[in-house]
């Protein structure tokens, strides 16, 4: 592995203090505003109340179970989107004819708000986990596809010429040059897609479901249990952050030569 500056040792940075300090200030201001302005808790609950709802949700196992369910939906959708995005993106990048043929359809699908199709998926695939996986996959698919195509195209002509000068087959050029060369850009797409897949799963649950964090939010909302809504939202944030961290870790390992390539796209 190449030497990494960040691994040289732990060094104090101002943000290590500033990040928690800002958190404390926001929470205190929020709590104070709710208390002094006597804002009803069904409108905006104070952080202390959200914390109690969160602890109760975790304690009863309800958050864990529902979060796992939502995670399974999002991750399943993400995996399907990743496989489809890679295969289709590779085909489109290799063949100008395939691109010209598929392009208008892809634009049509991309410009249609996927959220608007979610009710259809519930009709087709039922109230269970399948419809949510399909919604998550649909939403996560495009950032991956677009970045796979852009990444495979981003290769310098010299690299292709080098491979061609060695009489490399199309498959060899793809496997040994284009694909590894595209990985930094593909990973930027995967980073976006992993967040989108959670979004897709929640939308699917909003349309119709019995389990999941989205379902929990809807239930709490109906009961004017606003603290419960915030508690479930906190769960979603934690899930999103964990997925992001996991992807970043994977990216550092697989794309070690381009650690600063996580340009957000889409």
């Amino acid at each position: 592995m190449p030497k990494m500056d960040s691994a040289a040792g732990w060094r104090f940075r101002p943000e290590y203090i500033l990040i928690p300090a800002l958190f404390v200030i926001i929470v205190a201001a929020w709590e104070g505003t709710c208390y002094f302005l006597k804002i009803p808790s069904y409108l905006v609950p104070p952080p202390s109340m959200i914390w109690r709802a969160f602890v109760a949700g975790v304690g009863s196992g309800s958050y864990i179970w529902n979060a796992l369910y939502t995670f399974a939906e999002a991750f399943g959708g993400f995996l399907i989107a990743a496989v489809l995005g890679l295969v289709l993106g590779a085909l489109i990048a290799q063949s100008p004819l395939a691109e010209k043929t598929l392009y208008p359809y892809l634009i049509t699908i991309q410009t249609t708000p996927k959220v608007a199709i979610a009710p259809l998926f519930v009709i087709w695939f039922g109230f269970g986990i399948t419809s949510k996986i399909v919604v998550a996959a649909t939403v996560a698919f495009f950032p991956i596809l677009v970045n796979v195509i852009a990444g495979l195209r981003a290769i310098e002509p010299d690299k292709i010429e080098l491979m061609r000068s060695l009489n490399a087959s199309k498959w060899q050029i793809f496997r040994m040059a284009q694909l590894p060369n595209a990985l930094p850009i593909i990973f930027a797409g995967l980073q976006v897609a992993v967040v989108f897949s959670i979004l897709g799963a929640i939308v699917g649950e909003f349309v119709g479901s019995k389990i999941g964090l989205g379902n929990l939010i809807l239930q709490a909302n109906t009961n004017l249990d606003t603290a419960g809504v915030f508690g479930a939202l906190a769960c979603l944030s934690i899930m999103g952050i964990l997925l992001h961290v996991a992807m970043t870790w994977l990216q550092r390992r697989l794309v070690f030569w381009a650690n600063d390539a996580s340009i957000p796209t889409s």
Partner: protein, 271 residues
Amino acid sequence: MVTLSIVSSNSPAAGRSAPVIEARDLVKLYAARDGRPIQALAPVSLDVKEGEFLAIVGPSGCGKSTLLKIFAGLIPHSSGHLAFRGRPISGPQRDMGIVFQSSVLFPWRTVLDNVLLPVDVLKLPREKIVKRAYELLDIVGLSDFATRYPNELSGGMQQRVSIARALVHDPAIVLMDEPFGALDAMTRETMNLEIRRIWKESKKTILFVTHSIPEAVFLGERVVIMTPRPGRIAEIVTTSLPAERDLDAMSSAAFGEQTRHIRSYFNSRGI
């Protein structure tokens, strides 16, 4: 100094006199945007002799890179006859190595794995050639960097890796397309000495394209002068420098006279 333990398998059957590359009346036409043909190469005839260091010098746009790419089988020629060891060239030859202007290293491969890229593409037995790869890294002075990655190397070192890569599959001829054009002047001089040494130790045929007249005279046994629009060979100069060359050779009278001769060729035509 290391010599390659693997004796070149490319000993010519027809003897030393047979050219490695034989070009007769090569013409290259491009289609312009408006569809009119543009002539990149006027009929060009050239023999690249076995084991020689042949330099091609000319201003940008004179078709020297086009000629090299046609030799490499990367682009087709429009008309004329082109043969590699007596066989017509219709595509890339496994018996050629290419060094580009940039090093074109794969950042995800270590230095050693970059050198071994041709071995992987040509599906040669890696374990047999790894030793040779190390010897080549030794020749280019990078044996301590085998397990490093390209982004840890300087530009000159990266270009030396790409030279080792061009030699690893034991090609008969190495084509170099302005390989030191992107390097600073001092690194470039060092690399010129290195490439002469590598040429002598590896006993390869080298075709070296450059737009630097001093570089062409210093490196080449013969220097092909090309002029543009359309690219044609104006003259082929046989250099009179000693076989053992150091940078002092650049201040010799013969060197000055030959660079002046070539420069006057371009000056008189307003190039």
